[in-house]
Symmetry: C2
Subunit: 360 residues, 2 copies
């Protein structure tokens, strides 16, 4: 019997390797990440030579998932420390780099926490900053492991689960948040169940979830986001687990757009709705979800869909719309704590009132 | 001041013409319909020479919208009467044609009503059948007009409306069901409001709604289906109007997948939720929504997205998924009458208990 979840084995340019979502290449002194925009068609390593490369990669969602972008931002600021070292405007430049990295994705608080972790390093030298980034990244991955072990208790054989967006290893440096209990339950605890995977428009992160579940042979079916209500009304969903991008002091969460829809419908049907996240996603400075800034992304994400054309054997974008159509594209929504049954964290499955005490 | 809603002016091959969704070409003795799969990129007339062509066009959603496919099926059966006229197995063949046409889309009851309307013609001659099909089609279009006039009373200036799928002229031969009140309120009653248009995965009928609203200059914004909850929680939706594909005796409705999600969330937020439909959509033989057969369509609709590539200047399909991914693709869901505030029909805005008396 397997005691541990095996790491994702990625086939990168024909080599089977074991890689987290983001890592530091010691030899070449570059930041590496799996390019999540190309999955499932290509598993490619994206290289960031400079902190600006890293900022760009976060903004363009080459790397995504709140904890993974937190780790990437920490490495990005460490890169900036190295780039501006011995520069006479060092402090000013580091503050600018901090602001640039912070502005890439406004909703995920992990990003801010990653940057804070680096900027508080004393003394702030290139070596110390890099070591801190590695530690921040490693801690998140370790927390993902705990989330998996703790959260798997909620899963029983023969259940139908439902998840939204992508919350696996690539979203949390390694191991995952909402997917971690699912993978743990299947691989280590040998439970056998079925997972409905929301396609998650507009960026269709369901493709990454499906790809990651496939690596472990976990039985799943992809659905359009609008199918969830029908499934719940027919009692075909027993448990919903999603991730989070920011958790307010009172337990309200910001998460991928569509999470709130799921939570309301689950509430109506009395289906348990959980969120899973590491410490870096908790934001004790924000009282309620109303204070969370919701990122609005480019209209093109709704207008155009990226994918793979068999005809042309390559990735391209198509649109089902004429050029004058207007779109509104909020990337997240807020789900109040009243709709959340429990919070799967490295400190246990908590209730809203316990979050501040246990996670701060 | 305009007294009437102008018909859709379609630019077909460079000519500005006024066409319903489906019509009989007297001169060439062929059934014509606007090919809804190509909108908004092309407005093309699709021609059905035989009843089998018509069956295929309904199945492949060249024509869609429950009332429009009811009309198309009526014309299809009239075509069959003409094709099999003087054939010694006339009655048998007509019964087969009936069954073939009926099987093309199982959920919309309009289809069955269109076929029944033709098969009950006495005597069942080619001329009589065709005249009956024209009458069935014309009656639906007239009902759409009434739905518009009656339903517009619900709309006030400065409201934000939300609609799902496409329910305009092309879905109801002419005039529309859920879109009819919106167009009437804007054009005739000069109310000024804003419409959120659900993209409506997987077939993205939001593109047709957006295109049709554009013809009238009605202010609207397309959103992913998962955005609705967030908008409602922020009180950015004042009124929801959807169509229907089948209405049971007790007022439960089958409609495009995702309708139920909207209804539950609207209920949670106390936002009025209406459905609009002509008589042909009411099915007094079915007691509740539980007895409605829900069509499950090909997985490819979820896996592949059809659209237009600027790069290749033409329509094509792309997929964001690898070839081994499994999908579940129900085309409709059922919304119980308890979540529906009112039924916009040619007989007025009804409550569930009035439907049988007023529409039978």
């Amino acid at each position: 019997m397997e005691k541990e979840v095996k790491k994702l084995r990625l086939d990168i340019d024909g080599n089977q390797v074991d890689r987290p979502a983001v890592w530091w290449d010691e030899e070449n002194k570059i930041l590496c990440m799996i390019d999540q925009t190309k999955i499932p068609f290509d598993v490619k390593v994206h290289i960031c030579d400079t902190f600006l490369d890293t900022a760009q990669a976060i903004k363009n969602m080459i790397i995504r998932g709140a904890p993974s972008i937190g780790a990437a931002a920490a490495f990005g600021l460490a890169q900036a420390v190295s780039e501006f070292w011995n520069n006479e405007n060092f402090n000013h430049n580091i503050r600018s780099a901090y602001e640039i990295l912070l502005s890439t994705r406004p909703t995920a608080v992990d990003l801010k926490h990653g940057l804070e972790y680096i900027i508080k390093t004393v003394p702030l030298t290139p070596e110390n900053a890099l070591n801190q980034a590695k530690r921040f990244s490693k801690d998140i991955a370790e927390e993902g492991k705990k989330i998996g072990e703790i959260g798997q208790n909620l899963i029983k054989s023969d259940m139908n689960l439902l998840t939204h967006c992508h919350t696996g290893a690539l979203a949390l440096v390694d191991n995952g948040s909402a997917l971690a209990p699912i993978i743990q339950a299947w691989i280590v605890n040998k439970k056998r169940f079925h997972v409905y995977v929301d396609e998650t428009r507009p960026r269709i992160q369901g493709r990454i979830t499906s790809w990651e579940l496939d690596q472990y042979g976990i039985d799943h079916t992809v659905i359009c986001d609008s199918v969830s209500g029908s499934l719940m009304s027919q009692r075909k969903v027993d448990l919903i687990i999603v991730g989070a991008d920011r958790v307010a002091q009172n337990g309200d969460i910001a998460n991928k757009i569509g999470t709130y829809n799921l939570a309301v419908i689950a509430h109506y049907h009395n289906i348990p709705f959980y969120t899973a996240f590491p410490r870096s996603t908790f934001d004790p400075t924000i009282k309620t979800g109303e204070d969370i800034l919701i990122e609005e992304r480019n209209q093109l994400e709704v207008k155009e869909i990226k994918g793979y054309s068999r005809e042309y054997q390559r990735q391209l974008s198509i649109s089902p719309y004429s050029d004058k159509t207007k779109f509104f594209n909020p990337s997240f929504d807020v789900t109040p704590h009243s709709l959340i049954k429990g919070y799967i964290t490295p400190e246990g499955i908590l209730e809203a009132f316990e979050l501040a005490k246990k996670l701060e």
